[in-house]
């Protein structure tokens, strides 16, 4: 049981800074997911926590102890790698036992621990197999097993599901969540998949170009994204982000005027802004402030995603309609949105207004 604290963590490679000061406190037993596009510095962040990369500035603390200069093996962490990093010449059993043997644990104790982990992960009967004789999902479980037998203070996951097919990924996602709750081990989990991030996380860190844009519970990020980047990254289909202009009656956007929940206080009229509207909040209506011409329909069964063009200047909006909604291509569709579902961002900084 432990806490993990990152304080102003920075990383530079030859003058070029790739992580620009990330701070976050992971509470005991919490699962924090770091999510962002590739190249945003999330893996570097995780590797600094693991001790596989040196820290340029700032501190990593585990249970209040600064571990910047501590070897990876002495940090009491376990890591699950993207490619699993199973030792190919060892059986599943030996893979899991390796870390315990290196620590000089007694043979009997090792056997007990590995067998317990194998039972939790449903690996019984597979322990004598070499990694190449295991399926992708089984390898993934062995990699998890190798982490949990050690009973570390912190689990680190580096995109552990990205090598699995879509179906298995969903299944393993649930298993990881269940396992982490069962064991109650403090965890830091890196992924580029926002659905994975939303479903797993107690709290999310959205990374963008080396900066933590927002840290918070998944629903808070969904409901009140702090930046336009977070708004566009979280949620599927992605939020519509279009240019608009504040006016006295609300905001002028995509050829319509949408009223705002809080009049004023968000900037003087005439100010150009970035307007964010989630597809699921744009509802087809008899008459709405917005109108689009249907260009494409994605009929998913439960929902129909409507892609349409609004206004004269080719602005495209996506709306999520009920499954039965079936306008003809080229038809105009009126869209309404509740004022509280309008997000406004500064055009230059991307910050929420």
């Amino acid at each position: 049981m432990a806490t993990l604290t990152l304080d102003g963590l920075r990383k530079s490679y030859n003058e070029r800074e790739v992580v620009h000061g990330v701070s976050c406190a992971v509470a005991d037993g919490e699962l924090v997911v770091v999510v962002g596009p590739s190249g945003c510095g999330k893996s570097t962040l995780l590797r600094m926590v693991a001790g596989l990369e040196t820290v340029t500035a700032g501190t990593v603390s585990i249970d209040g102890r600064v571990v910047n200069a501590v070897e990876p093996k002495d940090r009491d962490i376990a890591m699950v790698f993207q490619n699993y990093a199973l030792y190919p010449h060892m059986s599943a059993y030996d893979n899991m036992a390796y870390g315990l043997r290196m620590r000089g644990m007694a043979r009997e104790e090792i056997r007990t621990r590995v067998e317990r982990a194998a039972a939790i992960l449903q690996l019984d009967g597979l322990l004598e197999r070499k990694p190449r004789q295991l399926s992708g999902g089984q390898r993934q479980r062995v990699a998890m097993g190798r982490a949990i037998v050690r009973d570390p203070k912190v689990f680190l996951f580096d995109e552990p599901l990205s090598n699995l097919d879509a179906q298995l990924r969903v299944q393993m996602r649930v298993e990881i969540k269940r396992l982490q709750q069962q064991l109650g081990t403090t965890s830091l989990y890196v992924t580029h998949d926002q659905v994975e991030a939303m479903t797993l996380a107690d709290r999310l860190i959205v990374m963008n170009a080396g900066i933590a844009d927002q840290i918070g519970p998944p629903l808070e990020l969904y409901e009140r994204p702090a930046t336009a980047f977070v708004a566009g990254f979280i949620g599927s289909p992605a939020m519509n982000l279009v240019r608009g202009r504040l006016i006295a009656a609300g905001v002028e956007v995509a050829g319509g005027v949408v009223p705002l929940a809080v009049a004023g206080g968000r900037g003087e009229p005439g100010r150009p802004v970035l307007v964010g509207m989630r597809p699921e909040h744009l509802e087809p209506a008899e008459s709405g402030p917005l109108s689009v011409r249907v260009e494409l329909l994605e009929r998913l069964g439960a929902d129909t995603i409507v892609h349409g063009a609004a206004g004269g200047d080719g602005i495209r909006l996506t709306a999520r309609a009920p499954g039965g909604f079936a306008p003809a291509l080229g038809d105009p569709v009126a869209l309404a949105i509740r004022p509280e579902h309008i997000h406004l961002f500064d055009l230059d900084t991307g910050k929420r207004l």
Binding site: E71, M79, Q82, Y87, Y98, P131, R132, R150
Partner: protein, 294 residues
């Protein structure tokens, strides 16, 4: 899917095959057949006629203490050359793998000895250790070692082993380096997190994963020591003192060209041929069953 090229007629593929076939026939099958033929014949005292002698040449070889001694010398020589060429090659590769700055220069310099012909390598070592004019020989004398490999058999053996191994270190270095770079870094990182010290990481993870490379190199080095070291022996010791550095391939040449015993020399070639075929077969079998690490 295997890609197959389909030719319309037989002429084009035949023409394409001719150069390779010609080289193989002229430089391998023909001499091999001649050696095999010669090995079964015996010449008269003046070398004017030969007559069929069955396996008499082979029987004579295995009854000859000189030949059996040469076998033993070859075994010691090959094993030592293989070990002395492999171990430093691996060590240098492990070190080069860690070098970040100037890595290209480092690797280039380490590869230079491989570009040197065995005969030249032999001459180089001969000059270094020549009892009369050698720089290192003088140093050894100064250290109180009675250095004269022209008279001292163990010294002579050590010198040819060193000279032969030195040249092969580069080759082994190159293959070990490639082998090391094929090991995913995450395996070594995982083992570091698992608590293994750098030394244990090497022996429990890296070295086992290099096994295919090591085995391949072992066979290649043995073949090298058996067959490609004639130049080294010839330039450094001429097989002496006495017969102490006369390895099999040197004896073939000596008995045939100097001793003019063509039948006996051919019989020795045939035996060597059998050995190299066996080694190659082992190598091929191994490569077919080669473990592919996922």
């Amino acid at each position: 899917m295997e890609r197959r090229v389909v030719f319309a007629g037989w002429l084009c593929p035949a023409v394409l095959l001719v150069p390779q076939m010609a080289v193989t026939i002229v430089f391998f099958f023909w001499p091999a057949a001649q050696a095999f033929n010669e090995s079964l014949r015996r010449g008269d005292a003046f070398g004017l006629t030969t007559h069929f002698a069955g396996v008499a040449n082979f029987a004579a070889l295995f009854a000859s203490p000189n030949y059996l001694a040469s076998f033993w010398i070859t075994a010691v020589f090959s094993a030592s050359v293989a070990v002395l060429a492999l171990a430093p090659g691996l060590l240098l590769a492990v070190m080069a793998d860690r070098v970040v700055r100037g890595a290209a220069l480092y690797k280039t310099v380490l590869l230079i000895p491989y570009a040197i012909a065995p005969a030249i390598a032999g001459v180089l070592w001969m000059f270094l250790f020549n009892p009369s004019i050698g720089v290192l020989a003088a140093l050894l004398r100064w250290l109180g070692i009675d250095w004269n490999y022209f008279l001292d058999a163990p010294q002579a053996i050590m010198l040819v082993i060193l000279a032969a191994a030195w040249k092969q270190v580069s080759y082994n270095f190159l293959f070990f380096l490639a082998g090391l770079q094929a090991i995913p870094p995450s395996l070594v990182e995982a083992s570091a997190i698992d608590g293994a010290s750098p030394r244990r990481r090497f022996w429990t993870i890296v070295f086992p994963l290099l096994t295919p490379t090591t085995f391949f190199l072992l066979v290649v080095n043995i073949v090298y020591a058996f067959f490609d070291t004639f130049g080294v022996i010839h330039n450094v010791t001429q097989g002496g003192p006495g017969q102490s550095t006369e390895i099999l391939v040197y004896k073939v040449w000596y008995d045939g060209i100097v001793g003019l015993d063509l039948g006996g020399s051919s019989a020795q070639s045939v035996i060597l041929m059998a050995i190299v075929i066996a080694l190659t077969a082992i190598q091929f079998r191994f490569i077919e069953r080669r473990v592919h690490y996922a």
